[in-house]
């Protein structure tokens, strides 16, 4: 069992995250912090406060996607059976990991789950909109069997407190590093869960400690470029079925419209979208 935490220049948040990992009722075998070239003393803080935690410093800032790619590759090579992924602003409750593993144990008969996710909440207790679960509504029989066991069958999850089985990495590879940020988790978990099983375990809770309960279109700014670009890459790829592509495309258009409204139609917003469209068509899918 290895936790993989990706960080960049958020030393205090990371300290909070690592403290909570230390307090897990089910102890971790290892914690790996993937440092995306922090300049605020993050590696030094980790070495001083958490000497048992290993730090993998990347040669350049590879974003969340690159960080999880590198961290998972490292942890998989080291032989861990489960990889627990999270950002540095993820604060899992003390029994979050134990609950995830208990969820795995009570999963319906058949193929064991490849992925288990916590219920991700914001500080006010409601589900964080950035991490809203995507349930597998189009697999109603499997969904029903999961509910009978107190689990919710997923179609996608985010990289905020998600447990990935070694088998998932062996079958489906690693997250796509070139996504940089946003949609990388949607793509990767969608790849795994297209045929495999993954569940949200409601008793496992992780607080996503963002300043606001935001979404990509409200968080916005130039980073929205990645949402546009990566959404196009996703639509061009083979993770989604035809019907899912249709729905995801509609949803992306709505979010893009909301982004334009949030930015009051300013030229900079349109330029961000245009760059995202250009690169989403031009860049390689994998």
């Amino acid at each position: 069992m290895c936790a993989v935490v990706v960080t960049r220049d958020r030393r205090e948040l990371l300290e909070g995250c690592l403290s909570r990992l230390q307090r897990q009722t089910r102890p971790l075998d290892a914690v790996l912090v993937v440092d995306n070239q922090s300049s605020d003393g993050t590696p030094e803080m980790v070495r001083a406060r958490f000497p048992d935690v290993r730090v993998l410093t990347l040669e350049e800032n590879a974003g969340g996607a690159g960080g999880f790619h590198a961290g998972m590759r490292d942890a998989h090579a080291a032989g861990f059976d489960w990889l627990w992924l999270m950002d540095d602003d993820s604060f899992p409750e003390p029994d979050a990991l134990a609950a995830l593993l208990e969820g795995a144990a009570r999963a319906p008969d058949g193929e064991p789950p490849l992925l288990l996710a916590s219920a991700v909440r914001w500080k006010d207790g409601r589900l964080h909109p950035m991490n809203a679960p995507w349930f597998a509504w189009r697999r109603p029989a499997e969904l029903a069997e999961g509910i009978r066991c107190g689990l919710l069958l997923l179609r996608h999850a985010t990289f905020v407190s998600v447990l990935i089985a070694r088998e998932a990495v062996e079958r489906h590879g690693l997250p796509l590093a070139h996504y940089f940020i946003w949609t990388d988790d949607f793509e990767y978990t969608g790849r795994i869960l297209r045929s495999g099983r993954g569940y949200l375990v409601p008793e496992s809770v992780c607080v996503h400690y963002t300043p606001r309960a935001h979404t990509p279109q409200s968080d916005g700014g130039e980073r929205f470029y990645y949402f546009v670009r990566n959404s196009l890459l996703l639509l061009r790829g083979d993770v989604l079925s035809a019907r899912e592509r249709f729905h995801y495309g509609l949803m992306s258009l709505k979010m893009t419209r909301a982004f334009v409204r949030t930015n009051r139609g300013r030229p900079a917003a349109w330029r961000t979208i245009a760059r995202g469209l250009r690169d989403g068509v031009r860049d390689p899918v994998r």
């Binding site: 409601r126 509504w137 509910i147 009978r148 107190g150 249709f246």
Partner: protein, 175 residues
């Protein structure tokens, strides 16, 4: 409480406090009714399993409209809030019939779907997979005919994509 196996029997039962709908011929297991009655919702749907033990998928509640917060909150009780259901194995409060009227037989194969979408608009029902009824072999589901589908679509129970999908099924006769 009364058992209703057809739309006509359901319509005739509106004075009852509770009606157990068993459209399609399934028979509930001994503890199924107790499991359904354990939930304080106006409509509580159970599951139906065939002779092999598999869930009859065509008779499972479907729909994605429920707020994810409610879905996650209900999961530890091993239930799912639903806004549409079938009447294959469903406990219905008589007050729903008195308030909304019975399902419209002119909606054909869509009657249960349209009716439950209407009656559950203000308060979701509940799906209890542990409450099981059995049937040796479930009948093959049929899509609604084009006219019944058109009538059902006019009720506003479906979004545009769902309307298109149902019309396509009614015209191609394939689900």
């Amino acid at each position: 409480m009364r058992i209703a196996r057809t739309l006509a029997e359901l319509a005739a039962a509106e004075d009852e406090e509770w009606i157990l709908c068993l459209f399609g011929g399934a028979e509930p297991e001994p503890d199924a009714l107790r499991r359904l009655q354990a939930h304080a919702a106006p409509l509580v749907a159970g599951a139906v399993r065939d002779g092999s033990g598999a869930l009859v998928e065509a008779w499972l509640p479907k729909g994605t409209e429920v707020d994810p917060d409610r879905v996650v909150a209900a999961a530890p009780q091993r239930i799912l809030p639903v806004v549409r259901a079938t009447l294959a194995h469903t406990l219905v409060r008589g007050a729903l019939l008195r308030e909304h009227g019975p399902p419209d037989p002119r909606h054909g194969a869509h009657a249960a779907d349209v009716w439950t979408a209407r009656v559950l608009r203000d308060e979701p029902g509940v799906f209890v997979p542990a409450a099981v009824a059995r049937i040796a072999r479930a009948p093959r589901p049929e899509p609604g005919g084009p006219i019944a589908t058109w009538r059902a679509a006019r009720t506003g129970a479906w979004g545009r994509y769902e309307q298109m999908r149902r019309f396509q099924q009614s015209l191609t006769r394939r689900l």
